[in-house]
Subunit: 339 residues, 2 copies
């Protein structure tokens, strides 16, 4: 660990990291003010953008310069332009617009978890409250359902095609903690004979139901309101979806739920788990493994579980065999488990 | 601006940026808990580190995994190690320790400026108060003086050597808005015949004075308490230091101060300005140009001024000629102006 003379110690990473919160706030301000949409509409100078977004020219100039530095815009001769990614994802008129995700990802309850991270490390779990983000009927999950639907479009379609590639037989799908409902809805869109049963708290299910109507599959989308740990799932499911759910809880809690899932499946049914699954080293791939910090900040005992850990929970709950599948270009993985 | 088929649109930068605040909080927690110092002392497993810092093993494991992902630690066989930079800058026992800078850089008044950035862009200046961070006797400057002294050691020595390379003649130095006092103190340490007069609010000058005593130059370090715009500087200075001061104000305000500086100098005296001086495009170099956002968030009308802008203010105030000098490996520049 010696430092060669040629390579002076540098405080650069320290500064970039201490100041990283500034980049979050700059992006949030740009989304809130619709700066990307204003530029997409043809406003390219700080003065024109400022007029369109009802802000001060000085404020817009400094914000846009920083968006260039951060890689969201380019600039030549005092004219700002969108990068291809910004045009695709951050112009409000784009069907792939994901700016709305900031409302969930930066909702005060989630950021409060990070602001009290020192205490969470001391305690070994969230410092915001006893239950953290998974308290019953927590309104953040309505924000989640509203803000994250657009972003989940692509992975939800990938999963439906992976799990039901023929799409030529009736398929009964249980969508646990459905949220925006997009994962179940993708199965219904992929297969005209699929029927979806979505479970979530009633305030959240309203969003899932709206989305099912919008996507034209409302007649094959039923609802079970309540807590996934308490409600009666029914039975004879071909597929049970557990998308971004297990990471909120400790292994014994997950095993309890997985036994209930196992019982609700047909003899040849499958559980489909979407998770951030890091390698055994727990530090790679970076975006996947880093999700553990979100769980430390926001939950009592959740985690980004390795495949070995998930496999053990699934095996303990009675599943025969589990396999893991990547979902490029995203950072999550799918675990498919046979009853 | 077409997107080739080979290069799919990616939301990766959007996510990294929305979540960037998490990295700030992780580093802050690690500094507060003295995790780096604990590892430097030989604690390498999550269990041992947790014991040393009085925290939960689960919390420490997740935090340290994320510090690996962020580049502050390495990990092999569940043992954590410091990188050379972390050992140099973040072990509390190191003379180059800069962890204390988080207390100033993340002080609630500064982060509040960023949390209200949307409003600051609308308004064209800080939304936290009329005067922002430069209100009289603002206690954040005591935090600044305490937290940033260690970090300024290297640039202050570079500047003293650049401005007074012979160091063989009496030198009367005025250190405006001295803060921790390190810039003036470096001149006194570089030249045994240098005498320093430090100007700042009285609460801040206590820190500068303590540092001068500690560095053994207290007998050549005098104080003028008060606002740099109001106090009588005296005259016949060889050098006037303006370190990280002009960026807080608009050009007319700076010109008023610079005229006063000009009057306080000997006929062959020089003003020495330390600033973040971006290129004319205002977006490069990234770390330098990005400082404009800190000024938008925290001040009414401050900025990261280009050399052309600084040169104009200095010329309007009566200075004959200004030259700019880099201070590698830092992100700031020195402007030396002849009376």
């Amino acid at each position: 660990m010696s430092t060669p003379a040629a390579q002076q110690p540098s405080p650069q990473l320290f500064f970039q990291t201490v100041n990283a919160h500034q980049r979050t706030e700059a992006l949030k301000a740009a989304v809130e003010l619709e700066v990307f949409t204003a530029i997409a509409e043809g406003n390219q100078t700080a003065a024109d953008i400022a007029k369109r977004v009802s802000a001060a020219e000085r404020g817009v100039r400094i914000l846009c310069d920083n968006l260039c530095i951060m890689g969201f815009l380019t600039k030549s001769d005092d004219q700002y332009q969108l990068t291809p990614d910004s045009a695709f994802f951050l112009d409000k008129r784009s069907p792939a617009y994901i700016g709305g995700a900031t409302e969930f990802l930066l909702t005060p309850m989630l950021t409060a978890g990070f602001q009290s991270l020192t205490e969470a490390v001391r305690k070994g779990g969230t410092a915001i409250s006893e239950e953290g983000t998974v308290s019953p009927d927590n309104p953040i999950w309505v924000k989640f359902a509203r803000g994250m639907a657009a972003m989940m479009m692509m992975p939800s379609q990938q999963i439906a095609k992976l799990v039901d590639p023929q799409a030529d037989k009736p398929l009964k799908v249980l969508d646990i903690a459905a949220g925006h409902g997009m994962f179940g809805i993708a199965f219904a869109m992929n297969n005209p004979n699929a029927e979806i049963v979505a479970v979530d708290w009633s305030n959240v299910l309203k969003v899932a139901s709206e989305n099912a109507q919008k996507m034209g599959v409302g007649d094959r989308h039923r609802l079970i309101e309540g807590d996934a740990f308490d409600v009666d799932f029914g039975n004879d499911y071909d597929v049970v979806l557990l998308t971004n759910f297990l990471h909120h809880f400790d292994p014994p809690t997950n095993e309890t739920l997985l036994r209930k899932v196992h019982a609700a499946l047909k003899p040849d049914g499958r559980a489909v788990t979407l998770e951030f699954v890091p390698n055994d080293d727990r530090i790679s791939p970076p975006e996947t493994a880093g999700f553990s910090l979100v769980m430390l900040a926001g939950t009592k005992a959740g985690d980004a579980y390795t495949f070995a850990e998930l496999d053990k929970m699934l095996t303990n709950a009675g599943f025969k065999r589990s396999t893991i599948h990547p979902l490029p270009p995203g950072f999550q993985q799918i675990v498919i488990s046979e009853k």
